[in-house]
């Protein structure tokens, strides 16, 4: 039992944490734009952001391979210019998780931003604060519970990500074999004991992570 390779757990947490962080920044920005700004193509952006909720993750993984794989234009450029390889690398797993988790973050945060009374923001602006200051002192604090909920959902989704990851990042031990992939791999190779252990570890870890996230981003009450 103690000679289990725990690298999938470390990798899963690392990938999910990074993907959640990207989701938080990108998702809050997108959610704010969709909630507060009218711009050309707004409907398309909204639909594109939500699309990963609808499509099977394998389809997303396939798209990622086509768009960022080694033989794609972007993939070739990244590898030639920066030596950066996304497909079949742990960074690719981060991208896959981010795209799959982003809709949950955006949906949740957008609803929270829309619920903030614009007259609070307008009044804050008449009081001499810059738009950025108003965002960080009024809009974001008031939308915080929704942003926290979105972050927790995004993290949960990222930890559980399987389909897009195995398509785009593969199943390379120590590099892209995250927990869900390792569990699938163990079960496929007939190692039920290992599968059981990994399932238990993932369940407990996910539960603890959600508790810690809730604590870290504590929702203040007023």
């Amino acid at each position: 039992m103690f000679d289990i390779d725990l690298s999938p757990l470390r990798l899963s947490l690392q990938v999910a944490a990074l993907a959640t962080a990207i989701c938080l920044v990108l998702g809050v920005a997108l959610a704010w734009l969709l909630a507060r700004r009218q711009f050309w193509g707004r409907g398309i952006v909204s639909a594109l952001v939500t699309l990963p909720l609808v499509l099977p993750p394998t389809v997303l993984g396939y798209y990622l391979l086509q768009a960022l794989g080694r033989r794609s234009l972007v993939g070739e450029f990244l590898e030639d210019s920066f030596g950066l390889r996304l497909a079949f690398a742990w960074e690719g797993a981060v991208i896959a998780s981010t795209i799959v988790a982003l809709p949950l973050m955006v949906r949740s945060a957008q609803a929270a931003f829309e619920a903030v009374d614009p007259s609070l923001e307008n009044t804050a602006r008449t009081l001499g604060r810059t738009n950025l200051a108003v965002f960080f002192t009024v809009t974001l604090p008031l939308a915080w519970p929704g942003v926290v909920a979105g972050t927790a959902l995004a993290f949960a989704r990222a930890v559980g990500e399987f389909g897009a990851t195995i398509m785009f990042a593969g199943n390379i031990p120590g590099q892209t074999r995250t927990m869900p992939v390792a569990i699938y791999d163990a079960w496929q190779s007939g190692d039920a004991a290992l599968a059981n252990t990994l399932v238990a570890i993932l369940t407990v870890t996910s539960l603890l992570s959600l508790l810690v996230i809730g604590r870290l981003l504590r929702v203040s009450r007023w």
Partner: protein
Amino acid sequence: MLEVNIRKRLASFELAPTFSAGDEIAVLFGPSGAGKSLTLQAIAGILRPDKGLVRVNGLTAFDSSAGINVPPQERRIGYVPQGYALFPHLTVAHNIGYGLSGLDRRQRAQRVREMIGLLGLDGLEERRPRELSGGQQQRVALARALVFQPRLLLLDEPFAALDEAIRSTLRQELLDIRRRTAVTIVLVTHDLVEAFALGDRIAVLDSGRILQEGQREEVYYRPASRRVAELVQSRNIFAGRVAENRPDGLHIDWQGRRVKGPACSWAAAGQAVDFCVRASQVMVVRPGRPASPGERFNVFSGRVVREDLGAEGYLVYVRLTGSEQPYDLQIELPIHIYYRLNLDTDKDVDVSLNPKVIHVMPTCA
């Protein structure tokens, strides 16, 4: 000094208010949906007009012809929206100090303390807005808007959310604060009593346009048109035709009667006119007494058809003899007068309209 002359196309009408205000309380009065709040937002810089001019105490805040649109942050205009828009996640002290980000911590605390003293909010510094009464919330909103010494204070229906009992107290407080801070105020209301209690000047806004602007007595007793007369609740508004314009007064034909009005410079014989009399200015002739000098004109006979008891007195509805209308005149009587006149439904009554209290208006096409 405030000067507003803007245009903004909206879904249902064009907002095109034109008015000015001096060092006083100017009231923007009008029915719901007239564009009062939007006008305030345009002054505050939250709503961008299509074109026009907003000038506030030397600052050209908006001027479409010169391409000027000063952002709300730089206008230094205090704005208290309807419902106050207090920040629910901040304490009273932090709400009030919100606009003082440029000052250091010590100066900020000092200014906040001054405001808390001025508005009698001592002891509430650490409370959240939801822990305050409506009146306290309103005072916090005023403090927050006044703390950075604005060049103008905009109040949108500041008393609408409050109980009747506390309103008159807070109105007095507002007048008091205005005296002490000497800030120019533009106040929006749909409440005539409030407009009259607070406004040195009243601008009447209807469907996006200013119908009349002037001293409050003028707007109240000398409305510019039938619509204004309706909005200031002049209960007796009639349509007639000028029979003769004599130097001593206008003679108006009205439903087969001849009404003698005040002297009038503009009306010509044959012209259609509207005229109005406030319900409190119609006199009831006491039976069996010689008519007093004020009762010698325009005496008409009728019958009381209905009486409503209000807070301050009776509203008596009179149908004139020979009339087909449900009623022709509404008369507001203090209770002691009502009892002295011994009125009752179905009793005959003589009423008198003094030419001095008749106000004649041109009929709008």
